[in-house]
């Protein structure tokens, strides 16, 4: 068996060995920064949110007491803020400055359209065996929801977090009760993000049967032709009809990258699930 076959992802074996690029290197780095800082923020935020729970003090002591936890939380927050600002800058640079098509509307846009509403209902009809499976474009409705949930979440959590961090400054233009509200907003929205990412996002993107145990495309950037065709038939056909298949061809991911991605990905999923269990024990205690 040739080495190249060993290196193929579990799902969608490439019969003809063709791989197509789905995410650029920058997008993959952005996801890596996003999930590492998010794990860091969750791991340091949860002990604060559930400071009375049995594991909170142990976890805090584990990272060097509360001063350390707050320091890590703020450190991750700054890194994530910078990543967020870079992303927003890129989106506007590509969409407005370079006039790139498909950023704000069209089949490749993250902005939700009427098709997403139809796909949502169509998908659910398919769940119940009442209709055919919808054909998805570049970003399916749940992926757009993930994106906008994170986008909204970062604005809300970030703003409320900085409002607490620099409370006397924010107090100059916020009413007094807002200082109370920001903690409620920060912790509830953070909790929603944690519960959503560690359960819904994990299952929707990685653990569902079509991708199980992990969708490697966010790590390798490429996916096999079969997987591409199966998961996003509309985008695949559009690519062929627009004659862009050649320009989107990628190389098969090397074995080291696959193995590295697996270690990182499984670690992230494991930490996330562990934090989810802790959250649930604290919430329903």
């Amino acid at each position: 068996m040739p080495d190249s076959e060993l290196a193929e992802p579990k799902t969608g074996t490439a019969a003809n060995g063709r791989y197509f690029v789905r995410f650029t290197r920058n997008q993959r780095y952005m996801h890596a920064v996003l999930f590492t800082t998010f794990l860091g923020l969750a791991a340091t935020g949860l002990p604060m949110r559930f400071s009375e729970s049995f594991w909170a003090r142990k976890l805090a002591a584990g990272v060097g007491g509360f001063g350390a936890i707050l320091f890590f939380h703020k450190f991750c927050a700054i890194v994530l803020t910078v990543a967020f600002l870079i992303h927003v800058k890129e989106v506007f640079q590509r969409g407005l400055f370079h006039r790139e098509k498909g950023i704000f509307w069209g089949p490749t846009s993250m902005v939700a359209g009427w098709k997403d509403v139809k796909d949502l209902f169509g998908h659910m009809r398919w769940f119940l065996g009442l209709g055919p499976k919808p054909q998805f474009e570049r970003y399916a409705y749940w992926e757009k929801f993930d994106y906008w949930a994170v986008f909204w979440g970062m604005v809300v959590i970030g703003f409320s977090g900085y409002a607490m961090w620099f409370a006397p400054f924010f107090a100059r233009f916020l009413p007094g009760w807002a200082l109370n509200a920001v903690l409620v907003i920060h912790s509830e929205e953070g909790l929603l993000a944690i519960l959503f990412i560690f359960s819904i996002h994990f299952v929707n993107t990685h653990l569902r049967p079509d991708s199980f145990p992990m969708d490697m495309v966010i790590f390798t950037g490429v996916e096999s032709e079969e997987e591409f065709k199966l998961k996003r038939p509309l985008e695949y056909r559009r690519m062929l009809s627009e004659g862009k298949a050649e320009s989107r061809l990628g190389i098969a991911p090397p074995l080291w990258l696959l193995n590295f991605s697996k270690v990182v990905g499984y670690t992230a999923i494991f930490i996330g699930l562990a934090l989810l269990v802790l959250t649930l024990t604290a919430y329903f205690h």
């Binding site: 509360f66 769940f127 006397p168 107090a171 509200a181 409620v184 509830e188 929603l192 959503f196 079509d210």
Partner: protein, 408 residues
């Protein structure tokens, strides 16, 4: 039987021989004992015991240095009129001279002690020194150890059902000052409990009775007592409201910690909360508590950082640190740059109370509905999806297609 023979018999019983000269001197001595030397001729032998094995030896040198060194043995052992004396002699009555102390002791918790009430604390009856002498068992630095002989589980506390307070005390700020720093002014047992007339803390006359405690502690901590008396807790105690806290309710009686140290800051909030339950509950919702509960980060505001520790006053009182006029200063202790708007923050806001905190109530309601709504929708959505994709996967699997689906 002449004297010499009797002494020889006693000596034989003890299994120790006195020097022949001493035996001779005693044998020739007249019947009356006048000087310490006469008694010490026998009792100076360090190994001398009575028939039941208790030491009846006296260290003549130490005795002569002791506060009673100028007395004759028979001043205290008054029933010994001459030599030889009976085997059984009456217990010494210290009250013959120390009447005040004896009557004080008689009304105290130690009145029924089976041990000799004086020597249990003052030590060996023949080696009693003034309490200002470092050799005294009741010298300030020695008091805790002396009381600890009984009031610790190593002593008799467990046996007699007494609280084991010695270990608590010795690790406290008072115990540390006394045992490590050797501060004579550090509170020892008797600074608070008194010495001879020790009463139960349930006795209203006791210095450790609840309403007397501020005054007792105030003997040293005068300024704090003044502040306490001016505060609402002091005022309530003065009115006889026994629910109000006194010094020991927050600081404990024996295991008193330095209030700035982490352990005390960690343990103090629940103490206030044991009465102020609602305030504790709303405090728990705040960042102050969330930070503060985790340990290792003890600077976050505890109750008294804002309310004051001793002179606790209602917010309506202009002298209260939480009075509107003082808030900028009070919050500013930690939050540099605190301003009029900043101090509108409510450290005890209740997001569940729509009347008191309407803004917060609706923010929390919205956030909760968002959280529940999103999660409920997606949990159902994703579960259905899981089931449907697994079904599709099995139906379309090559293996099933190959063997006609017999073992799918």
């Amino acid at each position: 039987m002449n004297h010499a023979v009797w002494i020889r018999v006693r000596c034989d019983i003890r299994g120790a021989m006195l020097p022949a000269s001493a035996v001779l001197a005693l044998a020739l001595a007249p019947g009356a004992l006048r000087a310490q030397a006469d008694c010490l001729a026998c009792h100076g032998d360090a190994s001398m015991t009575d028939a039941s094995g208790h030491s009846i030896a006296v260290d003549g040198q130490k005795f002569s240095q002791s506060i009673h060194g100028s007395l004759q043995c028979t001043n205290c052992h008054a029933d010994i009129k001459g030599y030889p004396h009976p085997d059984k002699i009456a217990p010494v009555e210290c009250k013959t001279c120390h009447d005040d102390q004896a009557s004080a002791l008689a009304g105290s918790v130690h009145a029924n002690s089976k041990e000799h009430p004086c020597t249990s604390c003052h030590g060996n009856a023949h080696e009693i020194f003034p309490k200002t002498d470092a050799r005294s068992a009741v010298y300030p630095l020695n008091v805790p150890k002396t009381c600890g002989q009984c009031h610790s589980n190593d002593g008799m506390a467990a046996k007699h059902g007494l609280p084991s307070v010695y270990p608590n005390y010795i690790d406290s700020i008072h115990g540390f000052a006394l045992s490590d720093e050797g501060l004579l002014v550090a509170a020892n047992c008797q600074s608070c409990h008194g010495s001879h007339h020790i009463l139960s803390h349930t006795n209203p006359l006791s210095p450790t009775y609840k309403t007397n405690i501020p005054k007792t502690c105030g003997n040293c901590h005068a300024k704090i007592e003044m502040e306490y008396d001016a505060g609402i807790h002091g005022e309530q105690i003065a009115r006889g409201n026994l629910n109000a806290p006194v010094c020991t309710d927050c600081h404990t009686a024996h295991a008193i910690l330095r209030p700035t140290e982490a352990a005390f800051r960690m343990q103090s909030t629940p103490i206030c909360g044991s009465c102020h339950k609602e305030q504790l509950s709303t405090y728990r919702d705040t960042f102050h508590s969330q930070l503060g509960s985790l340990g290792g980060y003890v600077e976050t505001a505890r109750c008294w950082d804002c309310h004051g520790a001793h002179q606790v006053l209602p917010a309506s009182d202009p002298n209260s640190p939480i009075n509107k006029a003082s808030l900028v200063q009070t919050c500013g202790k930690c939050h540099a740059g605190a301003n009029e708007s900043f101090v509108q923050y409510q450290p005890h806001a209740d997001p569940r109370n729509r009347q008191l905190n309407p803004g917060l109530y609706f923010v929390r309601l919205f956030m909760n509905l968002l959280l529940i709504g999103v999660l409920t929708f997606f949990v159902i959505h994703t579960l259905l999806w899981l089931i449907r994709s697994r079904y599709a996967q099995i139906k379309n699997s090559p293996r099933r297609a190959a063997n006609g689906g017999k073992d799918a």
